[in-house]
Symmetry: none
DNA sequence: TATGAATGAGAGTTCATTCAT
DNA sequence: AATGAATGAACTCTCATTCAT
């Protein structure tokens, strides 16, 4: 599954071949079909598993509520950590989100996941007396998406620490 | 080329077939090869053309300098307009940016384009006496990327006007 | 289609490969899919076409009724001629009839075809005051099936003319 | 071997998989290769065994000679009983007989078996002063083949008792 | 300029066969 | 004796590319 994730993330669903994945995993291609019914099902399981992992990582030490500036900052850092740790997964996730013709089932799963976070942040901005908590939450969501995107594309050159500080200054 | 853009954006490079593109364009498969050497070259020309178009659109009524809050806001709106008008192009662009194995040549072209904008914004933030103009410009770049991404994935539900106001409030 | 018939008849549905058929037809395997959607559909069309051909051959100079010994004999000879002329088709037909898991759709088509003939012969035996026209017709049907089978398996050694005379003697 | 027979008869040689046979037999795939060298050899042994069984069944209470109408009738009934009892075997046998490319070795075995019976019947018809004992024996052989075939394809609807009577009336 | 029939490499998938356990 | 994970050749089917028309 590590192998599949890497290959899918680097080549896209159609560009990734079972042969490539099997080679990356160090097994024969026929064996792939002992574990996964098809290429499509492999993708589905990959996504479900990654989503699960992400969710459990985020919930690890948070109660689902943001009460203070400090918690906001911690949450943000956690998010960034998630992107960096599971870079391949998020790269794949992003690519798929942009292709309407792949894995519709997954789309809903992902949207639900994101919606949930949006609400946590909206609550935070409401508490902070934001002029427009909804818009601020959406913007913050976009910031996260953009951050994720940039970290995926050019992780080495991005001054992530400075940018995090800047985000905290502007949003927390 | 319109046809190719649409098909590439909806299916990805590997998922798009010459047949599909030709049908979308209303011509025969074989004729494609009169105009473009190969599928890969078609993609390259598509990207160059789109980049060109984007650049000329942005320069249309700007001098490459942002002197006031008003100009900053105008520039932002122009950017959003660009994303919405050429949604397919940016969707394709985003997908490709995430796949290191496709169109390396294009990567550099795109990076140069973005770098240029980064500098314009950095100059603006410097003038505004930002604590960290570089970080603020990077963050703003991420905001644009995130905005683009969100507009690509769910254009109908995004409260773009409110979010633009919020960005102006926070950055301009 | 000639090629497909030959290869299917000699190797069975599963044993026949698209490659073999294409080679027999003198074309590239990819081209097979320009004319037929799939191997299964190729088989279906083959069967429908063969059935059609057989039906039209038999109706050619008969009114669907057997009125005399002479007509009975003529009908029998015609049947045998059909088996010999379209040996590959009937060999394939026979093999498929024995495999419940292949081409269910075709089974019904074939059964209807045979039922029709059975009735013509039953009418003949009734007119001849057979003790049990139904049984005699069924037996005659089995004779035809057995004849077909033997002609398929060992056409060269079978004394078909003498056997036809014998059948006429016993049944007409 | 019962399992293999069932699966081969229902799917054909190429359509039958070792996995299916093993599952039907309730053992693991690998164990098949402890008992049989290969799929092909399994088929060969199956056929030899079935042939043996058939031969011993037919010889059971006959001396290899037909002396009277009664014995002829008994022999015929015995034959039909054989077809019905070992339906899967004869279905497989028939399918293979029609495919020149499978199990050549078996072809000869089968032909010898049939030839032997042909001679017994030819002797009977000679004794009965048939005009053409050879042709009558061949025809009778075809009747048996046709009977077998029809019993394989549609065993439930065939009025086998009436047809047997009719055969006795016409041939014995 | 324009077509689409034709090609064949390569994709996903299956399965006879092997072998460590 | 018994298992089923593992292999890879061979299968069906797709598609970028070519070319006669």
């Amino acid at each position: 599954m590590q192998a599949a994730l890497k290959v899918f993330a680097n080549h896209g669903f159609n560009g990734a071949t079972i042969n490539l994945i099997a080679k990356e995993a160090g097994i024969a291609k026929g064996l792939m079909y002992t574990y996964y019914e098809s290429k499509e099902q492999l993708l589905d399981e990959l996504l479900s598993f990654g989503m699960q992992k992400a969710a459990s990582f985020l919930y690890e030490d948070s109660t689902g509520k943001l009460e203070s500036k400090k918690e906001f900052a911690a949450s943000l850092r956690k998010m960034v950590q998630l992107f960096l740790q599971e870079a391949d997964f998020w790269r794949l996730y992003t690519m798929l989100a942009l292709q309407p013709n792949i894995s519709e089932k997954f789309h809903k799963e992902a949207m639900a996941f994101l919606q949930q976070y949006l609400e946590v942040y909206m609550a935070y901005f409401k508490k902070k007396k934001s002029v427009n908590p909804m818009a601020e939450a959406m913007l913050f969501g976009s910031v996260l998406d953009g951050l994720m995107f940039d970290l995926m594309v050019a992780p080495d050159e991005y001054p992530i620490e400075d940018v995090i500080e800047m985000i905290i200054k502007k949003f927390a």
